[in-house]
């Protein structure tokens, strides 16, 4: 059994059984992959993301009664996960990450025809400042509107628009620079 399954079993043990658990699982666990991606792109560490999401889901279960609008479950979970990551950063001194090592993709993570484009883009996104990476992720990955991102990040809409614009400009600049440095034949 791998570590993720270990954690799932542990979580099931903590959550227990019953209709509340079934409702929680039906409503929240489908967002587990979203949460993992969200935390990964915040912290750029897969194993840390798994730990944080596991803790976040447990916290979500404990405060499940506070979720008033089931339609808002994903935003609610993202907020819990972000806070859990912040708590983790406060608790421990995290090691410096090697961007190049992180950017090696799993082949099955690639969803478009040219995996090299995706690899380069992933590397570029990893190097974006967090203040640009997070709104871009919320918009492109989760389909949030600008006003939803503003609410999630507690920013003004113009500030979000600026960050999104700058994020894309930074990605374009970086990709152009990298492409310009390549040889002209294979």
């Amino acid at each position: 059994m791998n570590s993720s399954l270990d954690r799932s079993a542990e979580m099931t043990a903590v959550i227990g059984r019953g209709s509340g658990r079934l409702r929680f699982e039906a409503l929240c666990l489908p967002f587990r992959t979203d949460l993992l991606r969200f935390v990964y792109w915040l912290c750029r560490d897969r194993s840390l993301a798994e730990d944080v999401v596991q803790e976040a889901l447990l916290r979500a279960w404990r405060s499940f009664d506070s979720l008033e609008d089931e339609q808002a479950a994903r935003s609610w979970l993202l907020t819990i996960a972000r806070r859990e990551l912040a708590r983790t950063f406060e608790r421990r001194r995290l090691e410096t990450v090697d961007i190049d090592a992180l950017a090696e993709p799993a082949a099955d993570a690639v969803a478009v025809n040219d995996p090299h484009e995706v690899l380069e883009m992933r590397r570029a996104i990893l190097q974006l400042d967090l203040i640009y990476r997070e709104p871009l992720m919320l918009q492109v990955l989760f389909g949030y509107s600008t006003s939803e991102i503003a609410a999630q990040l507690q920013l003004s809409v113009p500030a979000v628009l600026t960050r999104l614009f700058r994020a894309r400009e930074a990605l374009r600049s970086r990709l152009v620079r990298d492409s310009a440095g390549k040889p002209s034949c294979p």
Binding site: T162, R168, R172, S173
Partner: protein, 221 residues
């Protein structure tokens, strides 16, 4: 909507179905190309963000090779960048106006203040504090400008939004700016200079208000 406004909106949200954007790109080939380029890029961004979990699955290393597709699709950007470098319009005023045009989202009339904590952090990093109840700041971000990270504020005045760049690390000769529909001043500050730029009327009184509202006595980080 002009090309500058269209590109800012497209750059912030290429997937927007704003009818004004649609109308603009229908009659502007350059902006239509930019729009298509960013939509193509967003498709790759989306795929890149979809990192798979769990990580226990075997991974395959992919040998590096050139990214011809990206190179081709972004060639126009390289040409644009070259053109920018060759462009002789590099005066201080032009740099200020280009920078402000790059954040045109901020130039809106509003009574909504910027987030207080964000504003405080933006200014604190330049060793500055805003005195209470002096002016309504609706926008506050840290920007790279002429090699320094500077506070970029928008202050709401009776004549509309006015941009303020706090150049605490650079002293620029005092001058007036009157270009491209912008009117502004560069004035000396307790540290460095202050750029105040508006689009509707004399901003000299605003500059005086801003100078009075900013407290430069904090230590810099």
């Amino acid at each position: 909507m002009n090309c500058q406004e269209a590109r800012l909106q497209i750059g912030a949200d290429p997937g927007s179905d704003d009818p004004q954007i649609a109308a603009h790109i229908a009659q502007c080939a350059e902006c239509a190309r930019y729009w298509q380029e960013l939509r193509d890029m967003d498709r790759i961004v989306s795929a890149a963000l979809r990192v798979d979990f769990p990580a226990a699955r075997p991974t395959a290393r992919i040998s590096p090779r050139p990214l011809w597709a990206i190179a081709a699709s972004l060639l126009v950007v390289l040409v644009g960048a070259l053109a920018w470098f060759l462009n002789p319009r590099d005066t201080f005023a032009a740099q200020v106006i280009d920078h402000v045009n790059g954040e045109a989202f901020s130039l809106v009339r509003t009574s909504q203040p910027a987030d207080a904590a964000e504003l405080e952090e933006v200014l604190e990093r330049a060793g500055i504090r805003l005195k209470p109840d002096q002016m309504l700041v609706s926008y506050a971000v840290r920007c790279e400008f002429r090699g320094h990270v500077v506070p970029h504020l928008v202050v709401q005045t009776e004549h509309g939004p006015v941009t303020v760049l706090v150049l605490a690390n650079e002293t620029v000769k005092s001058k007036r700016i009157d270009e491209d529909g912008f009117e502004g001043v560069v004035v000396p500050a307790p540290r460095g200079s202050l750029v105040v730029l508006g689009q509707d009327g004399d901003v000299q009184p605003v500059a005086a208000t801003v100078l009075n509202a900013l407290d430069y006595t904090m230590k810099t980080w």
